[in-house]
């Protein structure tokens, strides 16, 4: 061990100052490493290296999950875990008490179920449109167009903005006397109060969310497009393949891993939607843009009596839904990868 350390220090790197420093550090680390090795044995020394990360993960991930379970299984409005009476599955029973799951108004926690349906609708619309627009934008930005660098910057810029800023900017545009209605009025059209109508409010929630995040997904797809070898396109061109066929037979299959990443990330993000929509619409009108995370937040922190248990159980339901979605997507992506390998072998 000492010899190898000396070897490093004595190599060409040792001639420079950084090399000398590295040697000194390695020498200094030698004796505690030896002690640790003697104490734990060579096969177990790996645990010592991962222990700091495990402690951080345990403190900030696993402990909160355990606390979340504790809150979900206890009742009352007390914050301290020890003050809370055990309630078993009562919070889950309250959440799932419904005349018909298809009609939220028959449910005891009607707002939770309205939020579930809103979130499902939002995720479907937003993810599908996000992937489509990101793909189209990436395809356009991958071509040699004038001002390509500028346009890449323009599309990525909203990603850098805080969700609150995004929401406030759009709120000013969409309010009764906002920019959009002023432009419409200039054209002789009286615009509606966009955020006052449930359907328009939902539409704008999806639109603003896509506008704010599309740049990030475009970037992932652009990276994927640039990794496709250009000789494939050259060969296809020589075979007189149409642009549509090139897209369908070369671009999309080779972009599939990136598309799956985008799909998984966008879906998880869509199910967790909260900040920008909360500022933009506050969940309204009524509960037209109320999503699950807002229900959890309001139940735990904004109501007169804070029902932490109910909020914790709702968050566990959300976590379970996300877990299922991720597993399904991993399975699909695994199957796709296997079939691709099979095709390549065949």
């Amino acid at each position: 061990m000492a010899r190898s350390g000396e070897a490093v220090a004595g190599s060409s790197a040792a001639r420079s100052l950084p090399g000398a420093l590295l040697g000194a550090v390695l020498n200094a680390a030698e004796w505690p490493m030896r002690g640790l090795q003697r104490l734990l044995g060579v096969p177990r020394i790996g645990w010592a290296f991962v222990a700091p990360n495990l402690v951080v993960l345990g403190l900030f991930t696993f402990l909160p999950i355990a606390i979340d379970f504790h809150y979900a299984l206890t009742g009352g409005a007390q914050l301290y875990p020890t003050d809370r009476p055990f309630a078993g599955l009562e919070n889950f029973r309250t959440l799932f008490e419904c005349g018909s799951y298809l009609d939220p108004s028959t449910c005891r926690k009607d707002l939770f179920w309205r939020a579930v349906y809103n979130t499902a609708g939002f995720a479907l619309a937003q993810v599908a449109l996000m992937v489509l627009f990101s793909l189209i934008t990436a395809l356009v930005l991958n071509r040699k167009i004038i001002g390509r660098g500028f346009f890449r910057g323009v599309f990525f810029y909203p990603v850098l903005l805080s969700p609150v800023v995004v929401a406030l900017v759009w709120k000013w545009i969409l309010q009764r006397e906002g920019l959009l209605n002023a432009l419409l009025q200039g054209a002789g059209v009286t615009g509606p109060v966009w955020l006052d109508d449930p359907h328009w409010a939902f539409f704008w929630s999806v639109f603003v969310s896509i506008w704010a995040h599309m740049g990030f997904y475009t970037l992932i797809l652009l990276a994927g497009l640039q990794a496709i070898p250009p000789d494939l396109y050259e060969a296809a061109e020589m075979d007189s393949a149409s642009p549509w066929r090139r897209l369908w037979r070369i671009t999309l299959p080779l972009l599939m891993p990136n598309l799956l990443v985008v799909l998984v990330l966008a879906l998880i993000r869509a199910v967790q939607v909260f900040d920008e929509i909360f500022v933009l619409t506050g969940g309204g009108p009524g509960s037209a843009t109320l999503f699950i995370v807002q229900v959890i937040y309001q139940t735990a922190f904004a109501e007169a009596i804070r029902l932490y248990g109910l909020a914790a159980s709702a968050s566990l339901v959300l976590a379970a839904a996300l877990l299922v979605l991720t597993l399904v997507q991993l399975r699909i992506s695994g199957q796709a990868a296997r079939s691709r390998r099979r095709r390549q072998r065949g």
Binding site: P85, L195, G282, G284, G286, A288, Q294, E303, A304, L307
Partner: protein, 422 residues
């Protein structure tokens, strides 16, 4: 020798620094502002520090949302400031510190703040002093007088009902082409005053919250006004949950004729509307239950988690003293909760318009219904305020019928009160 002398000097300096640190206790005050309350408190705190060099007062100006949403969680976790300016007076009472042992004359407090001290007490039999009201507020209507003049219509008289006001404001709105006749802040508290005037009893014989015929009657009127365009739907129907939303901008931009809010808006009205139009405060409209608004306000409360209870008591005692309190009221343009200060009258340095408005609100204090006082002092009052805003908002947005909304308000109240009792 030199070395040991240097050690001695360093040690003495360190000990001195520690002694100074230990001597000057710091108390932190979480303060939100309706107008300039925190700035005035900061100013008065400097005067207190000059008189009490052993205490340092740090005023942390925070948004109202932090007081409503974050402070309760902080307090439940045993954290938070030493003093806070709160509006959920009874709801947070279990975290308050009784400063009776630390004030110079508890009888002064009882004699001058007696009416509102009970709002801060956790139980009706409690006799502790937990803080002082920094403002006594009353809800009431602001009216755009210029629009009435332009429409050549007289303002309805002091005994006018809500229906009279709605009819008059609709006429004015039509004549002056203003989009809406009336607007209420999106708050169950604002709604409650008008509902009590309409005959809502709020409590049943056992003292439990109840949705009765008076409440239903006003809810029907309110729902109809929002649906027929008398009121702007976006204020109550435009946001979700129990989110608070005021209609000040609508009024300040002359888009509504009458705006129901409260006395805390006077400062803002005075500064932001200025000479754009004439506005007046009128007495609360009447109904079978009287002509009442809702009392309320904010209080500086001492919090149990403090490590310096004596200094907290001294600072609050300083703020509650008659000359300081009178100055605070005059500079913040608030209605005093201190009987002696109210009796002598406050020398408000405001425009004649604001002075007249304050006068109407002060007169309205005498007309407040006992039910309104009971509701304000009830520690679970937000269990009715929040569902009122949330469920009526859903009905106004067209998501559910009014009957369903009223049923849901009842169910939400039951659930919250039950959970609070566990």
């Amino acid at each position: 020798m030199k070395k040991s002398r240097a050690h001695l000097i360093f040690g003495a300096a360190l000990a001195g620094a520690f002694a100074l640190q230990a001597g000057a206790a710091e108390i932190r005050v979480a303060c939100y502002s309706d107008g300039n309350e925190c700035e005035v408190t900061q100013d008065l705190a400097k005067r207190f520090e000059a008189q009490n060099p052993d205490v340092k007062v740090a005023i942390d100006k925070v948004p109202y949302k932090a007081i409503v949403e974050q402070l309760p969680v902080q307090l439940a976790a045993g954290e938070g400031p030493d003093i806070a300016r709160v509006t959920d007076l009874g709801g947070l009472s279990r975290y308050y510190l009784d400063i009776t042992p630390y004030v110079k004359d508890p009888k002064y407090w009882e004699a001058n703040f007696g009416q509102t001290l009970k709002w801060l007490r956790p139980t009706p039999n409690d006799k502790g002093i937990y803080g002082m009201m920094t403002q006594l507020t009353v809800t009431g209507p602001f009216v755009n007088k210029t629009l009435f003049e332009q429409a050549r219509l007289p303002l309805p008289g002091p005994k006018a009902t809500w229906d009279d006001w709605a009819a008059a404001c609709r006429q004015v709105a039509k004549a002056t082409q203003v989009p809406f006749a009336m607007a209420f802040d999106r708050s169950g508290h604002r709604f409650a005053g008008a509902a009590i005037s309409q005959g809502a009893k709020i409590f049943d014989a056992k003292g439990n919250l109840v949705i009765d015929d008076g409440f239903r009657a006003f809810a029907k009127k309110f729902y109809d006004w929002n649906r027929d365009g008398t009121m702007p739907k976006e204020v109550w129907g435009g946001v979700g949950g129990s989110t608070y939303r005021d209609a000040f901008e609508e009024f300040a931009n002359a888009r509504v004729v009458l705006y129901l809010s409260g006395s805390w808006q006077i400062n803002r009205m005075d500064k932001q509307i200025g000479k754009n139009f004439d506005w007046v405060v009128v007495p609360n409209p009447c109904g079978p239950g009287g002509c009442t608004g809702m009392p309320g306000g904010a209080a500086f409360v001492a919090l149990k988690r403090t490590k310096n209870p004596k200094d907290v008591g001294r600072f609050l005692d300083f703020l509650a003293s008659e000359p300081i309190y009178a100055e605070y009221m005059a500079r913040t343009e608030n209605i005093p909760a201190n009987a002696a200060v109210a009796k002598k009258g406050v020398d408000y340095k405001v425009s004649p318009q604001a002075k007249a408005a304050l006068g109407v609100f002060v007169d309205d204090v005498a007309k407040l219904s006992p039910i309104a006082y009971d509701l304000q002092g009830y520690k679970l009052n937000r269990a009715i305020f929040n569902p009122t805003a949330a469920r009526l908002g859903q009905a106004i947005a067209g998501e559910m019928s009014l009957d369903e909304a009223l049923k849901r308000i009842g169910a939400d109240i039951d659930e919250q009160v039950k959970a609070a009792g566990k």
